[in-house]
Every structure is written in C-alpha cells, then in structure tokens.
C-alpha cells in the first residue's frame, strides 16, 4: 500500500467518530431515530474497517505508523506534538474499541428506541470512541492524557444521560471527581517524567532508557507509582473504585462499552504502554500486585450479595480489572493484555445480555423479581450462559485461556499467589452462577403484569450479542499457550512493545494446576447450583444470613462509601464553610479593615464628589488627561 494512503488512514479512522459527533451538533435535531442510529454506527463501523486494514499493515511490515499532525505546544524545550502512533499495541486496542464499539452502537439502536434523547445518546457514544482512540493512538503522554480525560468526560455525560434524576447526576459527578483524583496523580507522574527525560514522547523515553542514560531508580519508582495511582482512578481499583458501581446509572450499553470493555481498561493500557518504566520499578510492581489482588477479592466478595443485575456485573468488572493489575504486577503483561481483550468480549456480552433482560422486563433490574427467564428469552439465555461460562473460565471458553495465563504466572512467582488468585476466580464462579441461576433458572418471580409482557429483544440487539458470544467462545484462540500446542500469537505480536520474561512451568505441573482449578470450579459451581436451583433459594430469603455480621457487611459493600463520606467529603465541605465564616470573614477582613477604618474616614470626603453630574465629571477627567498630555508635550 502506498505510504500516502497509509499515512492518512489512522487520521481518518480517528476523525470519523468525531465527525459523527460534530455532525450531530449541526443537524442532529432533524434526524429521525433510524437515521441518527445508522449514521452514528456507520462512522464507527468504517473506523473499524480502517483499523482492520491498519492491523494487516502493521502485521505485515512489523513497524509502527507514525503521524505528526501539528505541534500542540512548542516553546523551547517544552514540546508536545499532536502526533499519532499506530503500533502493535495500539492497533489491537483500535480493533477492540471500534469493533466492540460498533457492536454496541448497533445494539443501542434497539435498546434506546423511543428514548427522548436517542440522537444525543449516539452523539456521546461517537465522541467517546473518538477520545478512546486518541488515548490509544497518541504517541506521547500528554495527548494520551487528553484522551484519558476525554473518555472521562464522555463517561460523565453518559452516566448522567437521564439528567432529570438527581441520583444519576450525583453518580456522574462522583465518577468525574474520583477520576480527577487519580488524574492529578497521573499529572504529577507526567511532571516527573518530563523532569527526568525532558520529553513526553514514548519513543524518546524508551530510547533514553535503552541507551542506559543514568537513571535514578527512586525517580522511576515515583513515576510508576503515580502512573499507577492514576490508573486506579480510571480502572476502578482500591481505593478509588466506588464510582464504578454507581456509574451503572447510565444506560446499559454505556455500562458495556465504557464501564466494562474499553474505558476502564485504560489503566491497564497505560501500564503496558509504560512497561519499560515499570520494569525498572520492582517496588511499584509489588504494590500493583497487592492492590490488584486485594481489589479482585474485595470486589468479588461484595458481588456475592448484590441484587441489582448491573451492580453484580459492575463489581465483577472491578474484580476482573483487579486480576489484570495483579498480572501486570507479576510482570505478565501479555497475560494481562490477553485477559483485557477476552474480558472485553464476555463482559460486554454479559452487560448487553443484562440489557436485553432489562429491556424485556421493562426496566426491572432487581434479580429477586426475575427467575425462569430461559423460557421467555431463549436467545438471550444462551448468549448470557456463554458469557457466564467464559467469565468463570471453563474450558474451552475465552476466559479459560486468559485466566490460566494469569494463574500460571502467579504460580511461577509463588504458589501462595496462585492460591489467592484461584480464590478470586472461585468467587467469580460463585457470584456469576448465582446471578445466572437466579435470573434464568428456577421459578418465575415476576409480577403477573410484567410476566405477560416479557419479550425477546429485537434482532438489532441480538445480532451484536451473537457476535460477542462467538468471540467469547473462540477469543482464546488468539493466544493458545504451548501446553495446547499453540504459539501464544498475541504475546508474540506485541513483543516489539512489551518485552516479557520467558519463564515456563514444566507441562506436568501445568496439567496438575489446571486439573486442580478445574475441579475447584466444578465444586463451587455445584454448590451454587445446589443452593439456587435445587433448593431454589432466592436472595430474598437470605435475609436471615444478612443478619449475620459478614452478610450485612458484604451487602452494604463494606461501608466504603459511608467511610469516604465521613472522612473526606463531609470534612471538606465543613472546612469550606468554616474557612468562609471564620477565616475569610473574621481574620482576613479584620486585617484589611485596618484600612476599613481609614475607609470610613475617607469615604465621607469622597462622597461629596458624587453629586450625580457624572457627565461633567467625566468630561473633566477626559479633558484633564488631554490637557496634561498636551501641556507636558509643549513644555518639553
């Protein structure tokens, strides 16, 4: 392909969704639902096709496409180019974003049907895709940060999409502000990077490190810790995760696209992108590992007792992201990236499946009011089940391969870590099966009025579900490990960006671990089956257990929100009031009222000049100025 076209492709792929957004501002009002939905989806589909072309280009040449658009800022040493880079890592991310993005756009045509803000919804989705592409296509940290904040902005817009609801607006604000806390850390990480390397461009930094320019490891540890702190905000890790469950206030396709498949993985992307820095910071890696694993287990536990179908999936996302960070902390970048991709498939599938359920039940989200849906929604049931099997890592579904990768990496580091990771996986098995059984199996608990109206979703919603189901089944193929005579294609593909250690377990150990975890999954699965299908316990009847301290603690999410409210939010607002009423009004004003006394004295004198004939006064002033000017000029 000629280099000219190649040069323009990424730009076009990037700009199409933006054009969609701007187009909406221009003529959105006059478009019908059908037109707006089709148009918005088309931009992203075309962008996906271009990404595929780019993918094959990168695959065949093995080199990155670099495009310098213009200088964002250039003064002296402070250079920030507005430049794109399409390499192995970003092209896969582009495929994911535009691919899953296209599916979710199409799905939304059905899901959002009849909503008053239909067209606006699609414009926000388009804008989101644009910023997400900026995030992964940037060739430097500042432009990456622009995408990073941009997706946060779209997330804010979409969580608060139904803006008449106070709670939704509060959730939107919370998401934006919590992300900002992470972003401030990230910004300071960038300041440190600039102080150390004098550049924000990935390539420059990597070059300096590979040239062994004297580097202070303390500084690198600082940088990486700050970058990771930024990632905990965007990717909803402890301690900044509480915005994500609240973010479920947004329409369900948003939860699938932004709060499961793409945006929340930006933190993982950031660390993989900066892997050369992280490789030099063992301390940070340990922290990441601990935070990731803790989050995985912590969120998994909370998911046990949630009764809102979307909340369960939200905590599951937090937990799975924790697992990815755990892998990053282990240095298993390939495994983390692999899990990022498979998770995007099956979590998007699960969310969209949940959306289909909510749609069919006319807005019902409480799983206690569901049950036996397999009889009403056959297609949704099957794809949801596939999603569940994929997330609980049953072979040969996609989640199995990616989780197995992570577990193996954990075992190499320490068997204890393997056990912990396995436990987090088993938590997933339990709460996901609980969700599945309570929603689709067992007795019907709907109102008779609701039950009579249950309907399967339209084709436009089911089609994307089918595609995602296929990906959730076969997604593992992209990185089949040696154990199954694969070549780990994905890991090899991103090797130019991510250098990975090549430690292997011997095959007998691997088989043993596999067998063990498989048995554990089946046992836990059976327990869930027994509890929720055989004994058909409904979460409602779990009230007794909720009286137990642990049950309550889980149900109330460890009271983290309440804790933050008590120790951060409320004090800050009290301080604000106190500063105003005491410091500002008493101290500062008292000091200046030294001049206040003077004021009273002088104001009497000045008052006399205000005789109302301001015109004359003005003229006098103007003439005075002119007069002084001329007199002095003449005199001199």
């Amino acid at each position: 392909m000629s280099s000219d076209i190649l040069h323009n492709l990424p730009v076009v792929a990037l700009l199409l969704p933006l054009i969609g957004f701007l187009g909406y501002l221009w003529y959105g009002r006059w478009l019908s639902e059908k037109q707006a939905g089709t148009l918005a989806s088309s931009w992203v589909v075309v962008s996906f096709i271009l990404s595929v072309v780019l993918f094959f280009e990168v695959l065949s040449t093995g080199t990155a496409v670099q495009i310098h658009l213009f200088d964002w800022i250039n003064t002296g040493k402070f250079q920030v180019p507005f430049a794109l880079q399409v390499d192995q890592l970003s092209v896969i991310m582009m495929l994911l974003i535009t691919g899953v993005g296209s599916l979710i756009h199409i799905y939304s045509i059905g899901y959002m049907h009849g909503d008053a803000g239909f067209n606006r919804f699609f414009s926000y989705l388009n804008l989101f895709i644009f910023f997400m592409l900026v995030l992964v296509m940037a060739n430097n940290y500042v432009l990456m940060f622009a995408g990073w904040e941009g997706v946060g902005l779209c997330s804010y817009l979409l969580i608060g999409f139904w803006y008449k609801n106070h709670d939704y607006n509060a959730a939107a604000n919370k998401a934006f502000i919590m992300n900002r806390i992470g972003d401030l850390c990230l910004l300071f990480g960038l300041f440190m990077i600039f102080s150390q390397f004098g550049s924000f461009v990935y390539a420059d930094i990597n070059l300096q490190i590979s040239n062994n320019v004297a580097i202070n490891t303390t500084v690198i540890t600082g940088i990486t810790l700050l970058l990771f702190a930024g990632a905990t905000g965007k990717s909803a890790q402890l301690p900044l995760y509480t915005w994500l469950p609240d973010a479920m206030a947004g329409p369900t396709p948003v939860s699938a696209l932004i709060h499961a498949a793409t945006m929340v993985t930006a933190g993982i992307y950031l660390i993989i992108r900066s892997n050369i820095l992280f490789a030099l910071a063992p301390f940070t890696n340990d922290i990441i590992m601990i935070v990731g694993l803790t989050t995985a287990i912590f969120a998994g536990l909370i998911a046990f007792k949630q009764n809102d179908i979307k909340k369960v999936l939200a905590y599951s996302t937090v937990s799975q992201l924790g697992l990815m960070f755990f892998a990053l902390g282990l240095g298993a970048y390939g495994a983390a990236f692999f899990h990022l991709l498979t998770h995007a498939f099956f979590k998007a599938l699960l969310f969209l499946g949940a959306g289909s359920v909510i749609h069919g039940l006319n807005g019902e989200q409480d799983i206690r009011n569901m049950g036996g849906l397999k009889r009403y929604m056959k297609s949704t049931h099957i794809v949801f089940l596939i999603g569940v099997l994929a997330i609980i890592a049953l072979p040969p579904f996609a989640g199995f391969f990616s989780k197995d990768n992570i577990l193996t990496a954990a075992f190499i580091k320490s068997p204890l870590l393997w056990v912990m990771a396995l436990i987090s996986g088993l938590l997933t098995v339990f709460y996901m099966l609980r969700l599945y059984f309570v929603v689709f199996q067992g007795k019907e608990r709907m109102d008779s009025k609701v039950a009579s109206h249950i309907h399967e979703s339209p084709m436009v919603m089911l089609l994307p579900l089918f595609v995602l189901a296929i990906l959730s089944v076969f997604g593992g193929l992209m990185n089949i490990p040696e154990l199954f005579h694969g070549t780990k294609w994905l890991e090899n593909f991103i090797t130019p960006i991510v250098s990975m250690s090549d430690v292997h377990l011997d095959h007998s150990t691997e088989w043993m671990l596999l067998g063990f975890s498989l048995v554990a999954i089946l046992v836990v699965g059976y327990i869930a089956y027994h509890k929720y299908v055989r004994s058909s316990i409904v979460p409602e009847s779990e009230i007794q257990t909720d009286q137990m301290p642990l049950g309550r603690l889980l149900k109330d999410k460890f009271y983290v929100d309440e804790l933050y409210n008590a120790i951060i939010v409320k004090p800050i607002f009290s301080i604000s009031k106190m500063v105003m009423s005491f410091f500002e009004e008493k101290v500062i004003h008292q000091i200046t009222n030294g001049s206040g006394q003077l004021t009273l004295f002088l104001s009497g004198a000045i008052r006399k000049t205000q005789n109302g004939f301001i015109s004359y006064y003005l003229f006098a002033m103007a003439l005075g100025v002119l007069g002084i000017l001329t007199i002095f000029i003449i005199l001199s």
Binding site: F70, W72, I73, N74, T75, G76, K77, F78, F82, F145, A146, E149, G150, L153, Y163, K164, H166, N169, A170, N173, F176, I177, R180, I181, D183, L184, L187, F188, L190, F191, M192, F194, S195, I572, F573, I575, S576, K577, V579, M580, E584, I588, H589, I591, T592, S595, T599, L602, S603, I614, S615, Y617, L618, F619, M621, A622, L629, F632, I633, S636
Partner: protein, 481 residues
C-alpha cells in the same frame, strides 16, 4: 501601523459618545470596540510577517523628570491588547440586553477604562505606565459605584478603590527610585532593565511592586476586596475586572519585575509563590460551598489567577509561556462564566444557585454552551484551560513540589465546585418553569466564546510563538547569571 491607534480609538470614541445622543451610545460603543478588535487583528497579522511592523512613539514629555511618552508593543503586549479589546467587546455585548440608566456615561467610562488598560500594556516608560495604571482605576470606581448592585455596595467599592490605590503608592515610590537610579533621570524600560541594583535594594523594590500586584491580581491574603467587588459590579464590569484588570498585574510582573530585579525574584519569589498557590487551595475550598453563583465565580477567578501568578514567578520559559496561554484562557473563560451568571440572573433575578434547577430541559443550547465553558474552566484537555495549566504546573513542579501540590489541588476541587453548580442549576427534575432557550446575540456570543475555548485548546501553540521573543528578552537577565 502605529501602536497609538489602540489608545486613540477607544479614547476618541468615548468623547464622541459623550457628545452624541444617548440613544446611539451603545451602538457607538460596540462599533468602536469592534474597530479596535479589527485593528489589533491587523496589527497581529502585520507583526506576524515582520516584527518591526508596529511602530512605537517616543516623545519627550516631562523633561525635568526625564519622563517620556513612550509606547510600543512586542508580541506579549499585542497579546494582552488583544485580550483587553476582545473582552471589552464581549463586555459591551453583555450589556446589550440590560436596561442601563445613563448609557452615555456608562459606555464612555468603559471605553476610558479600555483606553487606560491598553495604555498599561503598551507603556514603555515606567512613569507613563504608572499613570495609565492608576487612571484605569478611576472609571472602574465609578462604574461600580453607580451601576453596581448590592447591600454593601458603597463600602465595598471604596474598599476596592482605596485598597488597590494604597497598594500602588508603594509601587510609585519604587518607580521613582528606579527612574533616578542611573546617572540621569530616565524611566524608560530599557534603561531600567539595564540597571545594576544591589541585593538589598532589589528586595525593597521587589516587595513594593509585588504587594501592588498581589492586591490587584489578587492573591492570598490580599484578596479581601475582590469577592464583594466582583459580586456587586454589573456583569460587564465584573468581566473587565476579572478578565483584564487582573491581567494588568500579571503582565506587569513579567514586564517590570522579573527583568528588573531578577536576583530578588530568584531569592524571594518563592514566598509569593507559596501565597499564590495556597490561595488556589483556599479559594477553591471556599468556592465549594458558595451558593451565590457570582461570588463563587469570584473565588474561582482568584484560584485561576493565583496559579498564573505562581507560574510567572518560576521565571522559566515553560512557566512564562504557560502563563501567557493561561491568561488568554482565563480571560475568555472568566468572561464566559460571568456572562452566564448574567444570563441566569435575567431568568430568576437572583444569583442563588439553589433557586434554579432543571433548566437544561428547556435550554439545551444554553446548557451545552455553559458546559463547554465549564470544562474550559475545569481545564479538560482540548479546551483552553488545559495546556496553560499543564505547563504552569510542570514548571511549578520543577521549582518546588509543595507549591505544585497546593496549586494542583485546583485540578480536583475545580471539578467539584463547577460540577456541583452545574448540576444544581441545569440538571435535575423539571421545575415547571418553562423557559425559552437563549436567542439572538446572547446565543451567538456564547457560541463564539465556546468556539474560542475549543479552538485555543486544540491550537494554543500560536500564543507561545507570538510571545517567544518577548519571553526570551525577559529571561535574558536571568540567564546571564
């Protein structure tokens, strides 16, 4: 093209307005401001091709004192004039819908203020500079006193006047000293920047200047005049005060403090940086719980100018370029926000945000444009508030981590107070207060502001380039040491 035009156009227009019928005052004022903006646009274009295209004037004036009427402009001056005149034009437009009593005097005063503020930005002679600096205060004083609204208007106005005036007196002493420090009495900027001043005297001069500028900007703890003044002043005047008058002080630090007393800046600048950066945190915290929208914006403005103030004192290229970018951004955003406050006031006759709610449903255009302005103020990338803030914070970080942390607190708190007020005013359930969306000039003005916010957010590089040479010159005395 001669730089004198930027003074003559508004000044003569003011005189014409005073003579013409009061029915014409507003049209004439807008016409005059539009002409000013066009003229500056031409100047910028000429300057871009040839940096000597803007001719200066240097006439002997008060011979006995060595004072010259010396005006001229480099890239930085032109940028400031651009800000000043664009904001003046915005301010005239904002007055459009209001029923203003005594329009003749009102618009004449605004034009006088515009003239003198332009004068501050072009003066090349310190004595002349001082005259413009003080003259600019007089129209502001009358505008406030006569057209302002508020219970404590009069004491607040007098406080504003005296406070800023007294601050400047110290500066006058310093200027007179500087003018007579050489062998002959000479107030020209070039002569004064060439002076060799001993460390102790530098400190005195530095202190005298910085207190004046600290009050005018204002930074913590010199800000007590600001909130009342901004709240009580009519919206167009608040816009001029926050968007331009605060920049007079910031510009002056770059022009008259950094190159004149570089040693003192290096030695003692840190204390003012701490004060300004602490002010960012302080003002942001106060803004969190303000229910008076205009008063909240006053504190927001204080937080933003505090950041620029600190950035300038880093005396570094990134800090100075970032400050220039941020000054442009703050001028536009602050004008936009106070304009929005005024539009809201017209709906409910109050600035209390709790009185509003659910407006977005009826006013989608207003809500959308308000949101763009808000994100500009928060400093989201690709809006104008980001790059400048980013450059300033980077340079602050390299200078002193604590200062950067204090100033960086605005990144989080800025989102909190802006989103809180937006949510209260625009979002939420329908309040059965059917409103028509903004129309006509209001709409186009807010569209233009939003456009500028996005445009300068994506393409801010020209600001740095325009000021590159000026900044190099400012940095010269520092780099020599």
């Amino acid at each position: 093209m001669n730089i004198l035009f930027v003074l003559l156009i508004p000044f003569l227009s003011a005189l014409i307005i005073l003579l013409a019928s009061y029915k014409l005052s507003q049209s004439l004022a807008i016409l005059s401001s539009a002409v000013s903006v066009v003229v500056i646009g031409i100047m910028l274009a000429l300057f871009g091709q040839d940096t000597t295209a803007i001719s200066s004037i240097d006439l002997p004036w008060i011979a006995s004192m060595g004072v010259h009427f010396h005006i001229g402009a480099d890239g930085m001056s032109l940028l400031m004039i651009l800000i000043c005149n664009v904001v003046a034009l915005i301010s005239m437009y904002v007055s459009l819908g209001d029923q203003i009593h005594n329009p003749k005097q009102y618009f004449a005063l605004i034009l006088f203020m515009q003239t003198f503020m332009n004068g501050v930005f072009v003066a090349q002679d310190l004595f002349l500079y001082y005259i413009f600096w003080e003259l600019a205060l007089i129209p502001a004083y009358f505008l406030l006193l006569i057209w302002g609204k508020g219970e404590k208007l009069r004491p607040a106005t007098i406080k504003f006047f005296l406070f800023t005036l007294l601050g400047s007196l110290l500066m006058l002493i310093a200027i007179v000293w500087l003018g007579n420090a050489g062998t002959t009495s000479d107030y020209s900027l070039s002569a004064i920047t060439g002076l060799e001043i001993d460390a102790e005297t530098q400190l005195m001069i530095f202190g005298a200047f910085m207190i004046a500028y600290g009050i005018k900007t204002p930074i913590f703890p010199f800000h007590s005049w600001q909130a009342d003044t901004y709240t009580f002043a009519p919206a167009p005047v608040t816009i001029l005060l926050s968007a331009v008058m605060s920049k007079m002080a910031l510009y002056s630090i770059i022009r008259f403090v950094l190159p004149v007393v570089p040693d003192a800046v290096a030695e003692y600048g840190i204390y003012f940086m701490y004060a300004a950066a602490f002010g960012v945190l302080y003002a942001s915290i106060i803004a969190l719980t303000q229910n008076d929208f205009k008063r909240m914006l006053a504190y927001v403005s204080m937080a933003h100018v505090g950041l620029i103030f600190a950035g300038i004192l880093t005396y570094s290229q990134a800090g100075l370029s970032g400050s220039m970018v941020q000054m442009v951004a703050h001028a536009i955003n602050s004008a936009g926000l106070f304009f929005i406050a005024n539009l809201l006031f017209k709906i409910k006759n109050t600035h209390d945000i709790q009185a509003f709610g659910g407006l977005r449903q009826y006013m989608p255009v207003f809500a959308g444009l308000y949101m763009v302005t808000m994100f500009g103020s928060i400093g989201v990338p690709m809006t104008n508030g980001f790059i400048g803030e980013f450059m300033i914070l980077t340079s602050l970080y390299q200078y002193d981590v604590i200062v950067a942390l204090l100033a960086g607190s605005g990144v989080i708190l800025g989102a909190v107070y802006m989103l809180r007020s937006y949510k209260t005013i625009m979002l939420g359930p329908d309040q059965n207060t059917v409103q028509t969306d903004i129309i006509g000039t209001d709409k186009y003005l807010l569209y233009s502001i939003a456009f500028v916010i996005l445009f300068t957010g994506i393409f801010p590089a020209w600001i740095g380039q325009l000021c590159e040479t000026s900044i190099q010159n400012i940095l010269q005395p520092y780099l020599q040491k």
